[in-house]
Symmetry: C2
Subunit: 203 residues, 2 copies
């Protein structure tokens, strides 16, 4: 049984972080590496520190096969594989409500490919909606640097269209009609809670 | 920077699971390995399959240092370390409400040592309560096979007592007074949602 890294991208270990060196923040979006994730993490830190919401990224799921226990030092994982996540990446709580979302970006200027999502993630979103959780995706168009919040219920509709033989992506126009643009801020960077407030009347 | 495995126990890889062999379920609690976790996972599966709740265990957080990319096969993590979790292990949604908990067991027959919890987990519980999430711990006394649901607000009180120089554990009597016993069932095994229904009047 082989595990492929969920997003199909080569894994770049965050060594700087692990040895405590803080990289200078790149405000330019020229370097597109992990920018969306970093911005969301910073946003979540802001929410947490300011008592606004408690939302966290789940750890990357890993299947551990072999672990060494050197004397007088920490256990070392010597063999492990990336597993596909069975849920979305982010969840937490805001004003008692359950918040759940996934964030993805595309280089495509005119549509968002649905291959960015996996069947089990979509199934998970269905479950969250059934349980009356607040579930959405944050979609980023890298080239134009636009970010949209699209409620999961709409993603499910486009997913179903694909399953029924329709197009394998959501057009940008459809996202503009059904979604909600989020402009990039300084702090918080991506203020998605503000949209949630508005959409669910939680203010 | 070294990472120690959060619960201080030697890690036992679940090889049977990874290669798809299903172990015969041990109904006896004689083998105390991962029983509480297994029972909770089974309970959560039951809730999910029956549309009752969507609650998941978070993946074990791992700091990845080195990854190999052999041709024509999956990426292999060759060096990684266990990180301490910054949150609790389980969270999800039930009737729109955010659910968050940690599960721990002790061999101590008369009290529950607070060293089972970490400062940052307790801080996380405070955040969840502040955000009006439903937060609790499932405590299991291995020897008597008793399980209690204790709301986080009580755990915080006992934690504070310890910080103020008081005892480093919660007596069993205190747990009996403040907590709620959950009897082991067949399916679901540990029906904690039923208690939540009762405590938060969600029926």
């Amino acid at each position: 049984m082989k595990f492929h890294y969920p997003n199909g991208k080569k894994y770049v270990p965050k060594k700087e972080e692990s040895i405590g060196i803080k990289k200078e923040k790149k405000w330019s979006y020229g370097n597109r590496g992990m920018t969306l994730e970093e911005d969301i993490n910073e946003t979540n830190e802001y929410y947490l520190k300011n008592g606004i919401a408690s939302i966290h990224k789940k750890p990357t799921p890993v299947q551990i096969v072999q672990v060494d226990y050197p004397k007088r030092s920490a256990a070392v994982i010597k063999e492990a594989y990336f597993k596909q996540a069975s849920t979305t990446d982010y969840n937490g709580v805001y004003k008692g409500r359950y918040i759940d979302f996934e964030a993805k970006e595309t280089q495509n200027p005119t549509s968002f490919p649905l291959q960015n999502f996996h069947e089990h993630q979509v199934k998970h979103m269905e479950n969250i909606i059934q349980q009356k959780g607040i579930c959405f995706v944050l979609l980023r168009f890298s080239i134009t640097e636009e970010i949209f919040l699209l409620e999961a219920i709409h993603l499910l509709t486009f997913w179903k269209r694909m399953k029924d033989g329709g197009r394998k992506s959501i057009t940008k126009e459809e996202i503009e009609i059904n979604g909600h643009p989020i402009s990039l801020g300084y702090n918080p960077r991506i203020d998605y809670i503000k949209k949630i407030d508005y959409l669910y009347n939680l203010r």
